[in-house]
Amino acid sequence: MAGAKEIRTKIKSVKNTQKITRAMEKVAMSKMRKAQERMINARPYAQKILRTVGHLAQANPEYKHPFLVDRAVKRVAFIVVSSDRGLCGGLNTNLFRAAIRSIREWKEKGVEAEYAVFGNKAVAFFKRVGGKVVAQTSHLGDKPHLEQLLGTIKVVTDAYRSGEVDRVFLVSNQFVNTMTQKPTIRQLLPLAVTAGEEGERSSGGFPWDYIYEPDARELLDTVLGRYLESQVYQAVVENSASEQSARMVAMKAATENAGKIINSLQLAYNKARQASITKELAEIVGGAAAV
């Protein structure tokens, strides 16, 4: 009966694991709903500021902001947005793989890279593979606030302003739907702004410019700074929604797998039990015949 007992304990432990994964699935599901809401709430601001920056790109300011000037690339910076926790399928792994591919492409061109990272997973990853991490923020929690991101963003924009880096990329997961999250790499700086169609209509084709109060330089600085921050914030909340939905899917699969394992273990247990009963019966019958 030793085999049967072992199987029984094994079944128990798998059942416990299944309970945990099921609970995690439920938790992720409710968190995902809230994270998605936050993602949708952040969209209007991102759209409106994009429109403003689009208008700005068509205006003719006398001052050329460094964020809009394309320079020869000697160093690049990557802002990598990852999750704080694991158990969310291949979400972070896929993201890092995409990042590494892009970093390698730059390396081949002789361009060095540095990193600013959000989330524990990215911190651990860059520690393992090595690389110059200039700033990091983790433990963003389920409700990331813009304040938490500002420090790291500022480190990168300061590096760009001072000419240490010539291009900045944002690496994050794009939330397509609950089942799909796509790792994406977007260029943040210099700004690649395309003028919107509606702007052309409002300007009537004539060259125009804003009235800037107090002055163009400071205002452009503020507007473009806010634009960058909103892009990063959007990426962070989107990543948070991606994380929860990826976790939900992964935990659902884990629960199902645990169920399958329990079934096959149960079958093995029944067989072992049956075999031992048959053996005992045979022994008794054999014993009786010998007497």
């Binding site: 072992e6 936050r38 709430n41 952040a42 209007p44 601001y45 409106k48 500021i49 429109r51 403003t52 208008h55 700005l56 205006a59 600013a116 990272v117 524990n120 911190v123 651990a124 520690k127 991490v133 200039v134 700033a135 990091q136 923020t137 983790s138 606030h145 813009l146 304040e147 500002l150 420090g151 790291t152 500022k154 480190v155 300061d158 409002s202 125009w208 410019d209 804003y210 009235i211 800037y212 109060e213 107090p214 400071e218 205002l219 503020t222 507007v223 806010r226 921050e229 909103s230 914030y233």
Partner: protein, 136 residues
């Protein structure tokens, strides 16, 4: 004649609709914007943005600073949610940098500990498994 108003903050949409006139606390003093105003870009001070709707009703929204963009038929208020001050930003930047440096230099950081723990659990499980196989 009306002007479209959008008031948004990073954490959500606050107001959208048509208006007869909009008042906003610009940095250089309060401004009143009627339809067909010249394009204007300015920063906002903390204060109330007032929107006069077409029915003559007046709506007020508090903003803690932000940016005001005016196009002839469009007013956009990009409100700040975060408390903004130059020295606050500087301090946050210094902190983010410091965290990165500490993590790079300190081998016994939290992350490492978590990783080591995970590896330990894995190793222990493997040992148990090997023991079981040997016994058979």
């Amino acid at each position: 004649m009306s002007i479209h108003v959008d008031i948004v903050s990073a954490e959500g949409q606050i107001h959208t609709g048509e208006a007869k006139m909009v008042f906003a606390p610009a940095e250089m003093g309060e401004v009143g914007i009627s339809p067909r105003h010249a394009p204007l870009l300015t920063r906002l001070k903390p204060g109330a943005v007032r929107v006069q709707t077409e029915s003559g009703e007046e709506l007020a929204f508090f903003v803690g600073g932000g940016i005001l963009e005016v196009q002839p038929h469009l007013v956009t208020v990009l409100a700040d949610t975060a408390l903004r001050a130059k020295d606050v930003d500087e301090a946050a930047a210094a902190q983010a940098k410091q965290r990165a440096e500490e993590a790079m230099s300190n081998a016994k950081s939290e992350v490492d500990l978590a990783r080591a723990q995970a590896e330990l659990v894995q190793a222990a499980a493997l040992m148990q498994f090997l023991d079981k196989i040997k016994k058979r």
